[in-house]
């Protein structure tokens, strides 16, 4: 009998190879994580009496929201909503227009190395600041009002949209882009025919998603003075008009849901 046949007949032991080969590293990581988690939980000091007092207080606060009062401050609310929408539309369009060249430059497969690092730098800076921090900065720079909010949201949009555009370009099929290049097309024609059709559906979907984010963020940046519905919401809280605040929150939820539904419809349509 040849040796190979004998090997087949003998029962052979098999187990899925572990993710981390060295056993001691595997165990050290597992045990270490558990110990750290236990210690971390230990440092959080829960004051149970404070919590039991706080619960009814929270409930009272929540109850103050009902019934939501749409009419009392309707003028302020509608002004805020409209201002937020203007801000959102302008910021989304400006941000996306500015992010296209940055995104093209930040795609490794189409940009020269120097351009790539420069554009990645812009994206990193834009993404490393949270909208609130940007808003505080731009309010200081441009004064209170929706202009600061619009600039904030535009700047944040560049980081978001540029990065996702660059990554989508990096995942395009190189062969069809190569085929367009082989026809003798110029650089812009190459982008327009070889790359753009491949990234377009996803980028339209992401534009709508960013619109949605910008609207929600417009409510937040308003709290630090950058205009829009956030300013109205902040005023309502400061005056303890929780019923008006509830109305504002409900309107924000309704608008976000509306954008969400329409964007999923549009995404299916552009596929």
């Amino acid at each position: 009998m040849p040796p190979s046949t004998a090997a087949i007949l003998a029962p052979r032991y098999w187990r899925k190879p572990p993710l981390i080969k060295r056993a001691w590293v595997r165990w050290a990581l597992g045990v270490g994580t558990v110990v750290y988690l236990a210690l971390a939980l230990g440092t959080i000091d829960v004051n149970w009496t404070r919590l039991s007092e706080g619960l009814p207080r929270g409930a009272r606060f929540f109850a103050a929201f009902f019934p939501p009062n749409f009419t009392g401050r309707w003028n302020d609310i509608s002004d805020g909503i409209l201002e937020s929408l203007y801000m959102t539309v302008a910021a989304t369009v400006i941000g996306i227009v500015l992010s296209i060249p940055v995104g093209l430059g930040a795609a490794k497969n189409i940009a020269p190395q120097a351009v790539y690092y420069f554009c990645r730098g812009i994206l990193a800076v834009s993404r490393s600041f949270q909208e609130i921090i940007l808003a505080i900065f731009f309010v200081k720079l441009l004064g209170f009002g929706p202009l600061a909010g619009m600039v904030t949201l535009s700047f944040a949009t560049i980081g978001f949209y540029g990065k996702l555009l660059a990554e989508d370009i990096e995942h395009t099929d190189p062969s069809s882009a190569e085929a367009v290049r082989a026809t003798g097309a110029g650089w812009l024609q190459w982008i327009n025919y070889g790359v753009q059709p491949q990234v377009m559906p996803r980028m339209i979907g992401l534009a709508l998603y960013r619109f949605d984010i910008n609207f929600r963020e417009s409510a937040v940046v308003g709290i630090v003075g950058a205009g829009g519905i956030g300013a109205t919401l902040d005023t309502a809280f400061n005056r303890y008009e929780f019923d008006s605040a509830a109305a504002i929150l409900l309107i924000i939820i309704a608008i976000v849901m509306l954008i969400e539904y329409s964007s999923s419809y549009v995404r299916r349509w552009v596929q």
Binding site: S176, A179, T183, L188, P197, Q198
Partner: protein
């Protein structure tokens, strides 16, 4: 006339893909480039239109030294070289006719192409070509709705609308079934004949190469190890190109086919060949 002299390519990884290749392709010649995977077939044709930059050597097409051109002149030179790809390489979300018209990108300005306002003569030519390959009823279909054979026909139209002097064909049948493969190869051969085009066809399938090419060049590890007519591909030659294997079946079958393929265009009167063309048109439409 294409002249390649001392063409060498070393990739950044250090792999020497081509070792000083010399090759002449006269006008109107359909040449098949065969060889095992990794022999450098794709590198050869990509060095000709400089989608891959050669490390050394010259490529001269109709007197113009392609290897010495700056980027602007290179784009002009690429217009004269149509390329057909393995997985069709169509832009899937564009329509059939947009894909065909993209072959004119080297001839029109950016805004013209961006607004899809191609000159009427280009549009006429696109319709003519699509009619020739039997796809004139699918003009506004998106490329991803087509079958493999249909997509390759669109790829062929895109290459031909460039009005090229030379076709560079990279594994045109690799993702097609045997019947469609033959139809596509026959179409390429016929169109080359009609337009007096020369072609370099990279192909895995030795039998298809023998059936449809008038000259075979065998590439092995970046060197030419055979250059001659299809009927001189003996077992010994195939062993030199691909390595030891039982080649008997390949050769015997191929001889019959190549005889047929050779005699057919000359011996059969045009009227009798008509159904043949119709068969071509129907290919991939079912």
């Amino acid at each position: 006339m294409l002249q390649i002299r001392g063409l060498t390519k070393r990739y950044r990884t250090g792999d020497l893909a081509l070792k000083t290749i010399d090759l002449d392709v006269p006008d109107g010649q359909v040449m098949a480039l065969i060889g095992p995977s990794g022999a450098g077939k794709s590198t050869v044709i990509r060095c000709i239109n400089r989608l891959v930059e050669p490390t050394a050597g010259t490529v001269i097409l109709n007197g113009a030294n392609i290897t010495a051109l700056g980027s602007r002149d290179l784009r002009r030179a690429r217009r004269r070289m149509g390329m057909i790809f393995q997985e069709y390489a169509l832009v899937e979300r564009l329509t059939v006719i947009e894909n065909v018209l993209s072959g004119r990108l080297g001839y029109v300005g950016f805004w013209q192409s961006f607004l899809r306002k191609f000159p009427q003569s280009d549009v006429d030519q696109a319709f003519q070509l699509l009619t020739r390959v039997g796809l004139d009823h699918m003009v506004d279909k998106r490329a991803d709705e087509l079958s493999g054979g249909q997509r390759q026909r669109v790829g062929i139209c895109r290459a031909l609308i460039q009005n090229p002097d030379l076709l560079l064909v990279d594994e045109p049948t690799a993702s097609l079934d045997p019947k469609t493969s033959r139809q596509i190869m026959r179409l390429i051969k016929e169109l080359c004949g009609e337009r007096k085009l020369s072609a370099i066809i990279n192909i895995h399938d030795v039998m298809l190469a023998q059936m449809f090419a008038e000259r075979i060049v065998g590439l092995q590890l970046g060197q030419i190890v055979y250059d001659g007519p299809p009927n001189r591909l003996t077992a010994e030659v195939l062993t030199r190109i691909y390595g030891e294997e039982d080649w008997a079946a390949t050769i015997r079958k191929a001889d019959e086919d190549s005889d047929e393929a050779k005699s057919e265009p000359r011996a059969v009167p045009l009227e009798l060949r008509q159904p043949h063309h119709d068969r071509d048109r129907m290919a991939g439409l079912t």
